[in-house]
């Protein structure tokens, strides 16, 4: 797909990055967009890859996912 982005978000630990990746992976993809979440083993970095049909959809997906990442990150901090 023509519009794509790769975002790396560091977490406190590999475990926390893995929790974030699993939490975010459970949602269904929005229309004309695919999102994958992963963290390489031993890495504390959450990797978010988004591919969309066009830039406008990509922008919407990025805004939405960053809100989710923020919430998950805050929840990990509050309840770890």
């Amino acid at each position: 797909m023509p519009a794509s982005i790769r975002i790396e978000i560091p977490f406190d630990s590999q475990r926390h990055a893995a929790v974030a990746a699993s939490t975010l992976s459970a949602d269904k993809n929005p229309k004309y967009t695919t999102m994958t979440f992963s963290n390489e083993s031993d890495s504390n970095v959450l990797l978010v890859c988004i591919e969309s049909r066009d830039a406008k959809l990509l922008r919407t997906a990025v805004t939405s996912i960053m809100e989710s990442v923020q919430l998950v990150s805050d929840a990990i901090d509050a309840f770890k």
Binding site: S22, T23, S25, D27, L71, A75, A78, F79
Partner: protein
């Protein structure tokens, strides 16, 4: 003993509840906290802003619930959340928190149907055995009866929910949304006296409300020159609630029920309870209703339904914890009842 956390955020309320079932199955509410997103008069709540409100509230709300219950996250045996139906963005907030807690502390998850949450909480609080359930809220209007492991839908709205009709009427006459438009319509109606004819749309076992709303949108301004806001609120309630009484009575007759249980936010309305009570009494039956802590969307009902599901062996694997705007009440196998 089993303890469940319940998270609910399908509309403009976000609720967190903690429920305990002891070894004998006796249920105790340990916490039930809630925040409501209220918009200015003449407006309704939109998905993006509502989701934002919930994102800002949810973590302090979970902390508050745990404090009230005197528990920590590790004391929880299961984490329950509303899978649907409802508004996508707002629902998603509960799901994200539920999944995060589950993964951090290795606690199983249960995705709960919102309507079944209302039914199971109503049953638990009132002790009703096998009632016809009238589920009426801003998002749903259904007449339900339990049969063969399903909460069967006997009748429902063909278009919008009754609460939606009431909420949007409140916008037309610029009533406050605080604490809720329905509450303010109820208070206003108490001061009304002149009855104005409105469309009455019962269709067999089902009902339609969007025509009544369109009628009000078109004629409210002219009606207000002859009738007061109070008269309109009074007339609308009498009209709408009579429709609900009719379809509920039809369902009672159909299944031979002697009990009616009203759940959902509109169920708080005392005039509705009064009208329904008169009909049920005439049939030699009993009406059950709950107070606003359980009628209005809340987290404890999700904990209760989720706990029943969990104890009957049901958990939701992580890959199935996505939320859905449409989730039929009768699509859930009620494995916890005979």
């Amino acid at each position: 003993m089993t303890v469940a956390l319940g998270l609910e955020s399908s509309a403009n309320k976000i609720g967190v509840g903690i429920m305990r079932h002891d070894a004998a199955g006796v249920a105790t509410v340990l916490a039930n906290v809630r925040r409501t997103y209220v918009t200015p008069p003449g407006t309704g709540f939109l998905p993006k802003d509502t989701a934002k409100h919930h994102r800002n509230c949810v973590i302090p709300l979970v902390i508050e619930a745990l404090q009230v219950a005197g528990l920590s996250v590790t004391d929880l045996d299961v984490i329950c959340f509303t899978k649907g139906p409802g508004m996508g963005g707002p629902l998603h907030v509960s799901a994200l928190i539920a999944r995060t807690l589950s993964l951090l502390w290795n606690i199983p998850l249960v995705g709960v149907n919102h309507c079944i949450g209302h039914i199971e909480m109503g049953r638990m609080i009132t002790g009703a055995q096998n009632p016809v359930v009238l589920y009426v809220s801003g998002g749903n209007t259904q007449v339900i009866a339990y049969a063969e492991k399903r909460y069967q839908i006997f009748g429902e709205t063909l278009d919008i929910a009754i609460g939606n009709c009431l909420d949007r009427f409140a916008r037309i006459i610029n009533l406050s949304n605080d604490p809720s438009p329905g509450y303010n319509i109820e208070q206003c109606a108490k001061k009304g006296s002149k009855f104005v004819d409105l469309p009455y749309t019962v269709k067999g076992m089902d009902m339609s409300f969007s025509g009544i709303l369109s009628h009000l949108e078109k004629t409210a301004k002219t009606m207000l020159s002859e009738y007061s806001k109070e008269d309109l609120c009074f007339s609308l309630q009498e009209n709408l609630f009579a429709m609900l009484v009719e379809v509920t009575e039809r369902a009672m007759a159909h299944v031979g029920a002697r009990e009616v249980l009203i759940v959902g936010g509109v169920g708080c309305n005392e005039r509705l309870q009064e009208m329904m009570g008169l009909m049920v009494q005439q049939r030699g039956g009993h009406l059950f209703a709950t107070d606003e802590s359980f009628c209005i969307d809340n987290g404890i009902m999700i904990a209760q339904a989720g706990l029943l599901m969990f104890k009957s062996g049901h958990t939701t694997p992580l890959e199935d914890t996505w939320c859905t705007q449409r989730y039929r009440t009768d699509s859930v196998l009620v494995s916890w009842r005979d």
